[in-house]
């Protein structure tokens, strides 16, 4: 490999890392110190792309973290770039320096690869930077029973499965919707009762139908003050995209677009869950 920037004492480390990615991850065709895009003021030491169109960038350095990577991470997060950025470093740092660097690297979502005697140890994996930028809500704004699932969903999102993360939140909203429907039915909070109460299987009917029925027939004057039609319309809007995880991307641009959409959906779903849970709190369900 022909390095122009990497100091010579780190060439062997870079070679070991390339072998590791080939043997352990099946990734090859690494480009060396090449431009990623005109707009990015950074050239990783090594770069390649996975079959899933995720970019793998490796910075080879003497320590697990560099301040100059902050700008790179920010650029990737802001532009939703599907990049996993690793820092590969030779083993043998002093404990304090090591811990500080590793902690910082983990916080930023970077991967850490320690290279020693031709062997690579994965200290921690890199997160897809396009997903790490997801807005994290203050968990105290949610009823206690939702905090654990919220943590799971956020971690699932940041760890690379945004569709599943959205699904976890949708499940909670759907369950809450069905509970409300049962409560309304039990209390008889319907309008036009002369024509009879809606006859729907609140457990098994499609979620969209449940929401449509509540919005059309519920007697909103009997509801707690925050549980209003616009909020229920926001919940109903989720039913359209409930199972739509998007098509498998066919190129990087598709992956960027899909991740941007999933980030927006996730943040929106979390907002709806927060407002919905808050509005229905007086119903004690």
């Amino acid at each position: 490999m022909n390095f122009r920037v990497l100091p010579s004492q780190l060439h062997a480390t870079a070679e070991v890392v390339v072998r590791f990615f080939k043997e352990a991850r099946g990734l090859s065709s690494f480009k060396v110190e090449e431009q990623v895009a005109d707009s990015i003021a950074y050239r990783p030491t090594l770069q390649t792309t996975t079959p899933e169109y995720e970019a793998i960038w490796v910075e080879v350095n003497e320590t697990p973290f560099l301040q100059s990577l902050d700008t790179v991470v920010l650029h990737c997060v802001t532009n939703c770039l599907p990049v996993k950025l690793y820092v590969a470093f030779p083993a043998g740092l002093s404990h304090t320096q090591y811990k500080e660097n590793i902690d910082e690297s983990r916080r930023k979502g970077l991967g850490a690869l320690e290279v020693s005697n031709e062997k690579v140890t994965v200290i921690h994996e890199a997160l897809l930077l396009s997903l790490t930028g997801v807005r994290l809500e203050d968990h105290k704004l949610f009823p206690a029973r939702y905090r654990s699932i919220l943590t799971t969903a956020e971690n699932t999102f940041r760890n690379g499965d945004p569709a599943k993360a959205c699904s976890l939140i949708y499940d909670e909203i759907e369950a809450l919707s069905r509970k409300i429907a049962r409560k309304i039915h039990k209390k008889g909070w319907w309008t036009h009762l002369a024509s009879g109460a809606p006859a729907l299987n609140w457990e098994k009917a499609p979620w969209a139908n449940v929401m449509e029925t509540i919005i059309d027939r519920a007697n909103f004057s009997a509801f707690p003050p925050k549980l209003k039609r616009p909020l229920l319309m926001r919940v109903a809007a989720l039913t359209d995209i409930r199972n739509d995880a998007g098509h498998k991307p066919r190129r990087t641009a598709d992956l960027i677009k899909r991740n941007q959409e999933l980030r927006t959906r996730f943040e929106n779903a979390v907002d709806v869950l927060r407002d919905f849970a808050d509005a229905t709190r007086p119903l004690h369900i």
């Binding site: 122009r4 100091p7 010579s8 004492q9 003021a41 950074y42 003497e62 100059s68 043998g92 740092l93």
Partner: protein, 317 residues
């Protein structure tokens, strides 16, 4: 186009069209240094132009390799550069030595690896072997640096490689250093000159001392300075047979340290020489004093010290 007072053009040139100078002696670039410069260039750009010359439609660096490397890393398209005439081989090398002599110093091994070429080119120009002074003047290096570099130049390749391998490691993992090899070579050179029968195979002695240093049998570099003292046993009238035996044991793989070898062979002789030297220096000093200028209390103190000294000399003799 701007021209400086040396007639060099100042241009913004494409970073991609620049090649590093194959004669640049510098081989080690520490990540931390590059990182600091990188952050500065990201914020303020390249404030000081690099120096290059034209060759085959591209540019070759004379000065500014770190600025160029950082600009590449930052994916910058151009960099300000002073374009100068292509120097001859010696001029090219001396230019780089002089640039760095005035700024941050290179590692000694970096200098040592390139100095033989400088010496050879200088020899052709001067039509005589350049002296240490010639080399220092031409390269801008202090004479002490040239002298220290020569110890490394004379090292067999296998040890240069060992040193290079260690310098490649992170600082915390480095065991051998340029200073270690300089002390080692100084010591063995003295043994070779003063007590050659103690040395045997020089490489074997090197290997053993390296291994003892790594195992901390030799706890610090200063202890290596005891070896030439042992080799110069005859100068302090110590038993040279004992000195040879101590050095031979030292140059074998065991836990015998330079401090032990010194203690068993010449320590006493050096102590004696040291004591005699000090006492003679005191006598010389006393001889310089005018007896009339002394205070009675000082005379009294001197008599007291003389009495104690006589008693101690009597005990020892």
């Amino acid at each position: 186009m701007a021209i400086d007072d040396l007639g060099r053009e100042l241009l913004d040139i494409p970073v991609e069209k620049i090649d590093r100078n194959p004669e640049n002696p510098r081989i080690y670039f520490r990540s931390a240094e590059l990182e600091t410069l990188l952050n500065s260039i990201r914020r303020h750009g390249v404030q000081v132009p690099i120096s290059v010359y034209r060759e085959h439609g591209r540019f070759v660096l004379v000065d500014g390799e770190r600025r160029w490397r950082c600009s590449l890393k930052l994916n910058r398209k151009t960099i300000p550069a002073l374009i100068q005439e292509k120097p001859d081989a010696l001029g090219n090398l001396l230019l780089m030595f002089n640039i760095h002599a005035l700024r941050e110093q290179w590692d000694l091994l970096t200098i040592a690896l390139k100095l033989p070429r400088v010496i050879s080119l200088l020899e052709s120009r001067l039509t005589k072997k350049p002296s240490e002074k010639d080399i220092a003047e031409e390269t801008g290096l202090p004479r002490a640096t040239v002298r220290r570099s020569r110890y490394l130049i004379d090292l067999p390749d296998i040890y240069k490689d060992q040193l290079r391998d260690d310098l490649h490691k992170p600082k915390t993992q480095q065991q051998l250093s340029e200073d270690f090899f300089i002390e080692l070579e100084r010591s063995l050179k003295t043994v070779e000159r003063a007590l050659p029968e103690a040395l045997g195979d020089k490489n074997q002695a090197r290997d053993v001392l390296i291994e003892k240093y790594k195992r901390k049998v030799i706890p610090n570099l200063v202890d290596l300075r005891l070896i030439p003292k042992i080799a110069r046993a005859s100068k302090v009238k110590a038993d040279t047979v004992r000195a040879v035996s101590a050095l031979k044991t030292l140059f074998k793989s065991n836990d015998f340290s330079p401090a032990s070898a010194y203690e068993q062979s010449v320590s006493e002789a050096y102590t004696e020489r040291d004591l005699i030297g000090r006492l003679e220096a005191i006598i010389d000093r006393l001889e310089e004093i005018d007896p009339n200028s002394l205070e009675p209390a000082f005379r009294q103190k001197l008599r007291e010290i003389l009495r104690r000294l006589t008693k101690e000399v009597g005990r020892l003799s």
